[in-house]
């Protein structure tokens, strides 16, 4: 269990993290979601007592990080892929960590085996690919067999097989009753792994909800129509009180209507339809809508996609 209370971090005049309060519970994977620069990494560093909060506090199992007797046995963290000495073998990198927390050396071999790095145990991480570095970082997090695990962007640089492995690993760790806290800037990734969601934007808490509730609240369903008599169809729909949005490619989109009623409507008016389908807005879009005002680094060319232009990035994933 991690408890964050009123956590604030200022760098000069910029507020990186602003009055964050939340709890991370055991037994579930908690996703920590936010666009780049939202303060996710800063928050995680403060949780590990690497950065000092301007105000507020973090409690790990009810204690301050520095009060933990052997921290690696309470909390394991993957902060960034390369938080290791590149010139020291993978085995020795983990061994020095194990020794500082009196973890038996046999455990080093065990975790290297667990992440699939046994073959390169005696190799230096500077020759590792990004994915291998990430695996080594995960091995260091698992070293003390801790109750709490924190992963900062764990799937960065991993190949599809590696991504699949990380997802299953996180779920398995949570199933064992551990507290699993994972940051990401990809909603689609979180939708596949997280049970609970904490969303931040510009350091502020935007949502703290279960994944299921988030999906229910945020995924808008709509119907998509295509017709050679578009103007007539649009008029007919408006007459019947539907909200119609003109999408690209001559498509019409209608919110909150079933395909049945729309098909019947078209038939009544004798309008030919070339396409009629029901779609769900992606969670990615919901996430972007939520964080739109708080995104720090906008690309300035063109309109913000997925916000003002409905239908542009609707892949109908729905999850």
């Amino acid at each position: 269990m991690i408890e964050v209370h009123g956590l604030t971090k200022r760098f000069g005049r910029t507020v990186a993290v602003d009055q964050l309060s939340f709890q991370v519970r055991p037994g579930v994977v908690t996703g920590f979601l936010g666009p780049n620069g939202a303060g996710k990494s800063t928050t995680m560093r403060m949780m590990l007592d690497l950065d000092n909060p301007t105000s507020g506090s973090v409690r790990i199992d009810g204690r301050h990080y520095r009060e933990l007797a052997e921290p690696l046995k309470h909390i394991g963290a993957l902060l960034e892929a390369r938080a290791m000495h590149g010139g020291r073998t993978a085995y020795n990198n983990l061994l020095c960590l194990a020794q500082s927390n009196r973890i038996p050396a046999s455990r080093v071999t065990e975790v290297l085996d667990m992440v699939g790095l046994s073959a390169v145990a005696k190799k230096k991480p500077k020759g590792f690919s990004l994915g291998m570095g990430q695996r080594l970082g995960i091995a260091s997090a698992l070293l003390g067999d801790p109750e709490i695990l924190m992963f900062d962007e764990p799937v960065n640089g991993l190949d599809p097989e590696g991504i699949h492995w990380v997802r299953n690993l996180m779920k398995a760790l949570a199933r064992e009753g551990r507290t699993v806290f994972v940051s990401s800037h990809l909603m689609s990734e979180m939708a596949l792994t997280a049970d609970h969601l904490i969303v931040i934007g510009q350091g502020r808490l935007l949502a703290n909800t279960s994944m299921a509730d988030f999906i229910q609240e945020n995924s808008r369903s709509y119907a998509r129509l295509r017709s050679p008599e578009r103007a007539r169809l649009e008029e007919a729909l408006r007459d019947e009180g539907f909200t119609v949005v003109e999408a690209e490619g001559g498509l019409l989109e209608v919110d909150g209507a079933s395909t049945e009623e729309l098909g019947e409507l078209a038939a009544r008016h004798g309008i030919v339809l070339h396409e009629l389908s029901s779609e769900r807005a992606s969670l990615e879009e919901a996430f972007m809508r939520m964080t739109a005002e708080s995104v720090e680094y906008h690309a300035h060319a063109g309109p913000r996609w997925g916000m003002d232009q409905p239908g542009e990035d609707r892949r109908g994933e729905g999850v």
Partner: protein, 291 residues
């Protein structure tokens, strides 16, 4: 859990993920026992770090080669060119070790800085401090392991070099005090200089920057003093010359009480004082600054 920030428990909504149903709310308990880690564990960890990187082997290897090579070479050159029939005194022979030690000190500085600054360069420091959140313990463990390693190696080398030089030149063995200063004294001074570098490395957090600063500290006062021609600067020049680190090192090989500048064991006390101040600053920097 008893914390002041107990929030009302949030109802756990049923999980909809197909892979698994709900989760046990009880926490996980590892079979690995938790005991209170102490300085000994941190020392073991730091020793593993120091011995498992090639830069340690390189810097110490070069130091050994420089101290041994230069020491023996000077002795051999003197024994062949010297036309004077008289045998040099033991004290004079011991002082031949000075050049090797001065060059070897560059390696000690480099290794001292790298011991901590390389962790900032690689990001390892974050891993180190999450494993051992007590900044004081990390700093003490690093300092102790590094100091002992440098001291032991320097001690062995200075004793070997002195003994070989005396036998090559056929000089009489000098008195115990001179021996002790030329071996233990010089070795303690070198190791302390390394500690000062480690402290500077902690403050600067950048290998190249800290090494440059330390080389400047060692050489600059001497070089500057050479160029202070003006009469008004005489006092300053004398001071910088006397208390420059090469001159302090040379003092260990000098028998006589000199009129100005440190003599006997004084250089060691001066350097220890400076290092202590730097270490305190390094500790506060490590403790207060964000990593």
């Amino acid at each position: 859990m008893t914390t002041p920030y107990q929030q009302p428990p949030q109802p756990q909504t049923p999980q909809q993920s197909p892979q698994w149903q709900g989760g046990p709310s009880a926490g996980y308990t590892s079979p690995i026992p938790v005991r209170r880690a102490h300085l000994g564990d941190a020392l073991a960890s730091e020793w593993t770090k120091l011995r498992s990187v090639r830069s340690t082997m390189w810097t110490l290897g070069v130091m050994i080669v420089l101290m041994l090579g230069i020491g023996l070479l000077t002795a051999l050159v003197i024994s062949t060119v010297s036309s004077e029939p008289e045998i040099p005194s033991g004290q004079e022979v011991l002082s031949l070790g000075f050049f090797g030690v001065l060059l070897g000190s560059m390696c000690v500085i480099t290794l001292g800085v790298l011991t901590i600054a390389s962790e900032y360069g690689t990001g390892m420091i974050r891993t180190t401090l999450t494993a051992c959140p007590s900044r004081g313990r990390v700093l003490v463990a690093k300092s102790l392991v590094f100091f002992l390693l440098v001291f032991v190696i320097s001690m062995v080398i200075t004793m070997t070099v002195s003994a070989l030089q005396l036998s090559i030149l056929g000089a009489q063995s000098p008195d115990g005090g001179a021996w002790l200063r030329a071996t233990a004294g010089v070795s303690l001074y070198l190791a302390t200089l390394g500690l000062l570098s480690l402290a500077i490395g902690t403050l600067i957090r950048h290998s190249a920057g800290a090494i440059t600063i330390m080389i400047g500290v060692v050489l600059l006062p001497l070089v500057l003093a050479m160029f202070m021609f003006s009469d008004s600067l005489t006092a300053l020049r004398e001071f910088m010359f006397d208390y420059s680190i090469p001159n302090q090192m040379a003092a260990f090989y000098s028998d006589s009480i000199r009129v100005s500048g440190p003599s006997g064991w004084e250089p060691l006390w001066i350097l220890l004082g400076v290092t202590a101040v730097a270490m305190v600053a390094a500790f506060f920097s490590l403790d207060k600054r964000d990593v």
